[in-house]
């Protein structure tokens, strides 16, 4: 049941508690917005876990990703270090 699936938000209900999302199969599903609702908008890419929106995906500039990973591998970019 604990499976994270990316989905696109197609509607936010007036109660700001529920949304309709599409996992890519064209079927609209009603899910609960589990995170801060002010952040979730129609058209957002979100992760849904067993009927709950748990995260919004940060839509980085698409070209950045590959370059970013290459840099990690060349040791030029250290991932943000949180332990200090």
């Amino acid at each position: 049941m604990c499976w994270g699936v990316p989905a696109v938000v197609k509607k936010i209900f007036n109660d700001n508690l529920r949304a309709l999302v599409d996992y890519g199969d064209g079927i609209d599903r009603e899910v609960i917005i589990g995170v801060s609702d002010e952040d979730i908008k129609v058209g957002d890419v979100v992760i849904v876990h067993a009927g709950v929106i748990i995260s919004k995906i940060d839509e980085k500039d698409l070209d950045l990703y590959e370059e970013y990973i290459e840099k990690i591998l060349r040791d030029e970019r250290e991932n943000p270090d949180l332990s200090e």
């Binding site: 508690l17 609960i32 995260s55 698409l62 591998l73």
Partner: protein
């Protein structure tokens, strides 16, 4: 078509998959880097040196098995799955009570599909699972989420219960619905939510006590749990065990990069906390979601099936929600350290598998008495259970056991 409005969103999802999933070239580059690092480790610690990297999410184990990640890594690295599946650790007692109330009190039970097939240790009224109870006449309904259950229960007047299982990811969804009084009068809620950091502490402590085993070089921490509780929640693990922890995404490239990070830190002898899954996880997590959880639930010592009590590892509804609490509403006693007894069926090694002490193939029942079609132990039920993942996507050896080779 209105769907064109979302074209850029779909393109984005596809792009993520292209980079992080369907990307053989990049995978090879990372694996080469990993090989360089294990060569360095071998030069320092000797040819036979072995290390373990542990994951704590069923979806990570799924990715590792489904994409054959074990088979492309150097033999020095052993990837071990920890407690990453809430269904696997749900005590038999609650399943027994649900069966009992569904058959005797005719309560409608709403549940996810995997809990539906989860076996109890003892039969109740002849049923070992909610699916068997349904065959005996109980009204058990499978739902995709809490919202579906609530909507359905509004359509009838019968007493019902929702089986609220899961980890920190789903808890804020439950909490928000409860906070907004969305629960109909004819519905109660059974909180079986478990917390992952205490389970990580528990399993690492057990594995550290076995000095004969390979050293634990690092932890792949659950990305989706971290979107809620924040990467900072793993800092105590880094400090206490002095090992690197990397919060990882779930695509194969995510997992490979996380392994690369762990090895790099291991070589340098540094214990640090890193986020690989930057597209979804932040240091603090979702503060609103955390506050919803805190308002509705309180933290309790909780039982993990076959394992026993882990301190402060579960959530129960707060007192003000007694009316919707399934156990209190029906006068059912909760489990206590005095009443809990080992709750695995004879021969089942699920507890050891959940703690990373054994692999599915070490269990004599695996693919014999216990299969995905007819799960006997809890780790075979859910698609996130380690035994189920190994059975569905595992090695040639397992395919041969199934006669599929």
């Amino acid at each position: 078509m209105g769907d064109n409005e979302y074209e850029s969103s779909w393109r984005y999802i596809d792009y993520i998959e292209k980079i992080f999933r369907r990307n053989r070239e990049l995978a090879m580059k990372i694996v080469n880097k990993i090989n360089d690092l294990t060569d360095q480790i071998r030069r320092v610690y000797g040819e036979d040196h072995k290390i373990k990297i542990m994951n704590f999410c069923g979806t990570h184990e799924w990715t590792i098995v489904r994409y054959g990640i074990r088979s492309i890594l150097p033999r020095m690295i052993e990837l071990v799955a920890g407690p990453g599946c809430p269904v696997c650790v749900t005590p038999s007692y609650y399943i027994e009570r649900l069966i009992e109330y569904s058959l005797e009190e005719k309560i409608v039970v709403y549940t996810f599909g995997d809990v539906y097939r989860l076996r109890s240790v003892k039969p109740v009224k002849g049923a070992y699972s909610l699916s068997e109870a349904k065959a005996l006449g109980a009204d058990v309904r499978i739902v995709e989420g809490f919202a579906d259950a609530v909507r359905d229960s509004l359509g009838h007047k019968r007493e019902s219960v929702f089986v609220g299982i899961g980890f920190e990811t789903i808890a804020p969804g439950y909490a928000r619905y409860i906070l907004h009084n969305k629960i109909p009068n004819n519905m109660s809620f059974l909180s079986l939510v478990k917390l992952t950091p205490p389970a990580m502490f528990y399993s690492l402590e057990i594995l550290q006590d076995k000095p004969t085993e390979p050293v634990i070089a690092g932890v792949i921490a659950p990305g989706h749990v971290s979107t809620i509780i924040g990467a900072k929640s793993w800092r105590p693990v880094v400090e206490h065990f002095n090992i690197p922890v990397v919060v990882s995404g779930f695509e194969p490239i995510d997992v490979l990069i996380s392994i690369f990070y762990i090895l790099k830190l291991y070589v340098r002898g540094e214990a640090r906390l890193l986020i690989e899954y930057e597209r979804a996880v932040s240091w603090d997590g979702d503060l609103s979601a955390q506050s919803y959880i805190y308002k509705v639930f309180e933290v309790r010592d909780d039982v993990w099936r076959g394992i026993g009590y882990i301190p402060k590892s579960g959530l129960r509804l707060r007192e003000e929600y007694d009316k919707i609490d399934f156990l209190k509403r029906h006068g059912i006693k909760d489990l206590s350290p005095e009443t809990w007894a080992t709750d695995l069926s004879p021969g089942c090694r699920c507890a050891e598998i959940v703690l990373g002490k054994a692999l599915p193939r070490d269990c004599p029942l695996f693919m014999r008495k216990c299969t995905p079609e007819k799960p006997y132990g809890p780790c075979m039920v859910s698609i996130e259970g380690t035994c189920s993942i190994w059975a569905r996507y595992g090695s040639q050896e397992i395919l041969e056991m199934r006669g599929v080779s």
